[in-house]
């Protein structure tokens, strides 16, 4: 039985402007195990990206507790959160993912550089990941010289190179056509399973859920639906 890597206990995020109070996330509890790939879906404003930001230690929960690898994110100091992100979290974003003046290989190795160590073994691992993602001929290209799908694949390699506990993806297929989007998510899912990471992907495109192990649907800041049976997930996708 694989262990729980991500755990939230009734976490909320409350924004207050004057007298107006908005609960972007409202008392959400969830767990994600090692080797499990979860899709967080929902319409715009449902709180899924805010949830992702809290799990990435980018936002502090207003209420409740969030744990990654047993570490309580709520009590971390800002400086510890930065170190935590570069050591424990792998991130893929919707856009502007890569550093434009670093080559494909340098972008992937950047995580090791930020962690203050880039060994020969890390270099080999970066090469292997990029080969696994079909980018072996693009190692020395700049991001502007490769396609959007290739850029997302580089971002996936970067999110895994430093052996994080958790891999988070924010709408990784938003700027891709359907075929490339399927490719990217499939590769992402395969690598999360192979590397035994806990992965969460935020997406508004339900079709991308065909490669995940569990689907959590959020509406108005709360969990509306949670599916972990393959048959139920496929039905959910087909209902759109």
């Amino acid at each position: 039985m694989s262990s729980t890597v991500i755990e939230t206990k009734a976490i909320s995020k409350i924004y207050q402007t004057g007298e107006m109070v908005v609960k972007a996330v409202d008392s959400v509890s969830m767990q994600v195990r090692q080797g499990e790939f979860v899709a967080l879906v929902g319409p715009s404003g449902s709180g899924k990206t805010t949830m992702l930001a809290m799990l990435a230690a980018l936002l502090s929960p207003s209420e409740g507790e969030a744990f990654i690898d047993g570490q309580d994110l709520g009590i971390m100091k800002d400086i510890d959160r930065v170190a935590f992100r570069r050591q424990k979290i792998g991130f893929t974003f919707q856009q502007n993912n890569l550093v434009p003046y670093l080559t494909v290989l340098e972008n992937v190795e950047l995580m090791m550089q930020l962690n203050g160590k880039l060994s020969e073994a890390d270099h080999e691992r970066a090469l292997n990941l990029l080969m696994r993602l079909g980018l072996e001929e693009r190692l020395n290209n700049l991001p502007s010289q490769i396609s959007g799908g290739q850029q997302q694949r580089v971002a996936i390699a970067r999110s895994l190179i430093h052996n994080p506990s958790v891999v988070l993806a924010d709408e990784p297929t938003a700027s891709l056509d359907t075929e490339r989007a399927y490719q990217v998510v499939q590769i992402f899912a395969d690598l999360i399973h192979e590397e035994n990471k806990a992965g969460i992907m935020v997406t508004h495109d339900l079709r991308m859920c065909r490669y995940v192990d569990r689907v959590i649907q959020m509406i108005d800041g709360t969990i509306e639906l949670e599916l972990n049976d393959r048959h139920d997930i496929n039905e959910f996708i087909s209902c759109g």
């Binding site: 930001a53 550093v99 700049l142 924010d170």
Partner: protein, 384 residues
């Protein structure tokens, strides 16, 4: 890590950064030339006084340290010489004339400086010999004259001065050359004191009964560190004189302070423009990179790395621009014609170069502040 990111960004965007370095290079050329002009104009005014082998200068009282208005009698010279702590004194006389030499196409306007043989005020001799007596038709010429003419030691030159309302011509033999020692924008001609007194420009013909006077007196002290106490002692023992050190005397040269203030203001404004240009460029650069910085912070890059990357980038670009500008300035200075008052001294040039390199990081401080304030949440399109 900061340097790694900075160097990669600069290297992979060479065109943009070289173009900006060229702007810094042009500012560098401008600053270095203005500084050299200030130095050149200043030197042309004060070179002789600056190099004077004395610690104090005595002026007639109540002439506001004006070298031309001051008159000090021979009797006062002896009083000053007798004060304890005074090693030697040298009377100095200043006037103007025109040097005419055989074989030279144009006459040269010169400062005529009367000196007492072997006393303070005598220039060092680089070629030939010094003045040995207080009279005699001999002169020592400024190095600037040697650079401009073909006059040699042993040649006879003619000095033209105005006596009353008439032009008078005096033939004098060149016995030596000194280094460059201009005074009031003119190269200097050094003469034995009594010869100087005879040929200097005068309003009317001397009756021969007037006491020999000097404009000022150069005072060399036994212990230069003790200048303030000797100065007080001289003032208490000798009436009717005023004492000043060399820097104070230079500041009192008519127009000198105003001229230096003007050129220094020009230089400061050019540096300020450089500061604003560099600040503006990197501010825009950082604004364009906000999403990229957001991603870097989201994946765990600390502010220290973000800030050092910006600072290193500014230093790289500024230093390259200043180097190019300095090289251009050196090449241009090699082609400058004689007589233009632009002087590049190592010390002055180095100060300007350091100032220019420093204004980069100072100008980029806002960009650094902006970069460190970018929130990692921008990577997710959120704000806190």
């Amino acid at each position: 890590m900061g340097f790694y990111l900075a160097s990669k960004e600069v290297w992979r965007n060479k065109g943009r950064y070289i173009l900006f370095s060229m702007v810094i290079a042009l500012i560098t050329v401008l600053v270095l030339f203005i500084a050299a002009l200030a130095e050149g104009l200043g030197l042309a005014n004060k070179e002789y006084l600056d190099k004077l082998d004395a610690e104090l200068l005595a002026f007639q009282a109540n002439v506001d340290l004006s070298l031309n208005s001051s008159r000090i009698s021979r009797a006062k010279l002896n009083d000053i010489r007798r004060v304890e702590g005074v090693e030697e004194i040298g009377p100095l006389g200043f006037s103007v004339g025109t040097l005419i030499a055989a074989g030279e196409r144009d006459p040269i306007d010169v400062s005529l400086i009367g000196i007492e043989a072997g006393m303070p005020g005598n220039p060092p001799i680089l070629e030939g010999r010094g003045i040995l007596a207080s009279r005699g038709n001999e002169v020592i010429l400024d190095g600037n004259i040697r650079a401009q003419t073909n006059i040699k030691v042993g040649d006879t030159i003619t000095i033209k001065t105005i006596q009353g309302s008439d032009e008078s011509f005096f033939n004098l033999q060149v016995i030596g050359f000194t280094d460059k020692r201009q005074y009031l924008y003119q190269p200097s001609v050094f003469l034995p004191y009594q010869t100087w007194d005879r040929i200097r420009a005068q309003g009317g013909m001397s009756s021969g009964l007037v006491d020999l006077t000097s404009n000022i007196v150069a005072i060399k002290l036994v212990d230069p560190q003790n200048a303030e106490s000797v100065k007080a002692l001289i003032k208490s023992q000798v009436d009717g004189i005023e004492l000043a050190d060399i820097p104070t005397t230079i500041e009192a040269i008519p127009g000198y302070a105003a001229q230096q203030t003007t050129t220094n203001t020009q230089k400061s404004f050019t540096l300020l423009i450089g500061l604003l240009v560099i600040g503006g460029f990197f501010q825009i650069q950082t604004l364009q990179k906000v999403p990229q910085i957001g991603v870097l912070k989201a994946i765990g890059a600390p502010n220290k790395i973000i800030a050092t990357a910006v600072v290193f980038q500014i230093i790289l670009v500024t230093t390259f621009g200043v180097l190019i500008g300095t090289t251009i300035t050196i090449l241009l200075s090699l082609g400058l014609p004689q007589g233009i008052p632009i002087v590049f001294t190592p010390q002055n040039t180095l100060i300007q170069i350091v100032s220019l390199v420093l204004i980069g990081p100072i100008g980029g401080l806002l960009a650094v502040r902006l970069a460190t304030r970018v929130e990692p949440l921008t990577a997710l399109g959120l704000s806190s």
